[in-house]
């Protein structure tokens, strides 16, 4: 059986109905376990003190914020090439989730930056590119909302997602270039994995797993809703035509 069969709405509804509860429970379990472990049972960092506990929210959400966009890019491509409706609707479903994760990364980063860098916000390249990512999410969501015909909206947002991805990458390099040679925001960030000791690393992994699962669960749930909304719209429109 080809994997594309799952792109059939009916098939998708059946499969997702079966998968969703498991993913949701697993997501909850991982999140609760990881966050409790991280919050209560890890030591403070010798330099960053207890702020290191923010990492359990900050890093997973930052990772998923980017991954959500990548997923939208892939599903948009699938929609453009193979015209599977579920694919387009999954992209639509993922956008608000990605936006929320982006905001979480920004907010936790700001709360972290305050004690570490002495400022809530610095125009550090990484932070800046995240802010730009937020703007891409906002534009994408606004375009979905502004266009009435669902297929037209799916096509247009898919094109925007493609072009936007290229420009998002370009912005990332532009921002790196922009803040080079200039005053570098006091970056205490432990940029390399090696720097993170095992005591922090293990609960972090659990949290990352939790965020991934949460993302999957939410995308499934929202895609189901979007499919239903789409069918609802089709039924009402047909009523109108009759």
């Amino acid at each position: 059986m080809s994997i594309w069969e799952y792109a059939n709405p009916k098939r998708f509804m059946q499969t997702s109905a079966w998968v969703l509860p498991w993913v949701a429970v697993l997501a909850l379990a991982c999140l609760v376990a990881g966050l409790i472990w991280g919050f209560f049972f890890t030591p403070d960092d010798f330099r960053q003190g207890s702020t290191v506990k923010i990492i359990y929210l900050h890093v997973p959400s930052a990772m998923m914020a980017i991954n959500a966009w990548v997923m939208m890019l892939v599903t948009s491509l699938i929609w453009l090439v193979r015209r599977h409706h579920v694919s387009a609707l999954a992209a639509k479903a993922a956008a608000p989730i990605g936006l929320t994760f982006t905001v979480i990364a920004l907010v936790t980063g700001a709360f972290w930056g305050q004690p570490m860098w002495g400022t809530w916000w610095a125009w550090d390249p990484r932070l800046t590119s995240f802010l730009i990512l937020t703007l891409f999410y906002l534009g994408y969501i606004a375009l979905w909302q502004a266009v009435e015909n669902p297929d037209t909206a799916a096509d247009l947002t898919a094109v925007l997602c493609l072009v936007g991805s290229v420009f998002a990458l370009l912005s990332r390099y532009a921002v790196l270039f922009w803040n080079q040679g200039l005053h570098q925001g006091a970056s205490l960030s432990l940029d390399k994995e090696e720097n993170v000791a095992d005591v922090f690393w293990l609960p972090l992994l659990v949290c990352i797993a939790g965020f991934v699962l949460l993302f999957v669960a939410l995308v499934l749930m929202r895609t189901r809703t979007e499919i239903r909304a789409r069918r609802l719209q089709a039924l009402l429109a047909r009523e109108r035509l009759a």
Partner: protein, 218 residues
């Protein structure tokens, strides 16, 4: 009056009404300016009051052409002009609705953007206060400008040209309040002038705007 207000608010909230877009634009500007100007906190903090005010003003400006143009295009404006409601009241209510969907949210998120622009801590209260006092003037003046260009196709750019000079006093006093507040100086004078502009604009411009609409409908 209540009916018109609630209709305009509802139109703004429903799909395609553009609620939230003004906010997004404000945010965009707060990102673009540092990208152009450079990341140094000191410079940014110094220009933050001005940039935030210019940003609020542009965000307001971009949604102005919705105030009357949509109603003109679908014929509602003709019908409102022949309704028992005085056209002056129509203008005032529509300006109020515009303020509620742009000015109020802008005022509320401004502190967040203040963080992005390194606004000194002392400035936040004054930023919010000055925007709360000044944005109603932006909406009323903008409604007057929108009334002037109501028959012009895609008159957005013309509208900006007409309205921006009228915004100058509001901008100057508004930014001055924040600048002085952030520097810990006396702010009473610009604050009073700002309030004065809002009151005077709110009291007088609806009449001018209604006259302009009558002329344009003729």
């Amino acid at each position: 009056m209540g009916a018109l207000l609630s209709r305009d608010l509802r139109l703004a909230m429903r799909a395609g009404g553009g609620f939230g877009l003004g906010l997004a634009f404000f945010l965009l500007l707060a990102v673009l300016v540092p990208l152009g100007v450079g990341p140094e906190g000191g410079t940014l903090g110094r220009i933050a009051p001005g940039i935030l005010w210019v940003g609020a003003l542009l965000a307001c400006l971009l949604s102005l052409d919705r105030i009357f143009a949509l109603d003109f295009e679908d014929g509602s404006l003709d019908l409102l002009a022949t309704s028992p409601m005085p056209l002056e009241a129509v203008v005032a209510v529509k300006a109020l609705a515009h303020w509620m969907v742009t000015g109020v949210p802008l005022t509320l998120v401004a502190p967040v953007l203040g963080v992005l622009l390194n606004l000194p801590v002392e400035g936040y209260g004054w930023l919010v206060l000055s925007l709360a006092l000044g944005t109603p003037a932006l909406s009323v003046i903008g409604a007057f400008g929108a009334a002037l260009v109501v028959g012009v196709k895609r008159g957005g750019l013309l509208l900006s040209l007409l309205v921006l000079p009228l915004y100058v006093p509001t901008l100057i006093f508004g930014a001055e309040v924040v600048k002085r507040g952030a520097a810990g100086l006396e702010v009473a004078v610009p604050l009073l002038l700002l309030a004065g502009i809002t009151l005077a604009a709110g009291a007088l411009l609806p009449f001018a705007a209604a006259a302009a609409i009558r002329i344009n409908l003729r």
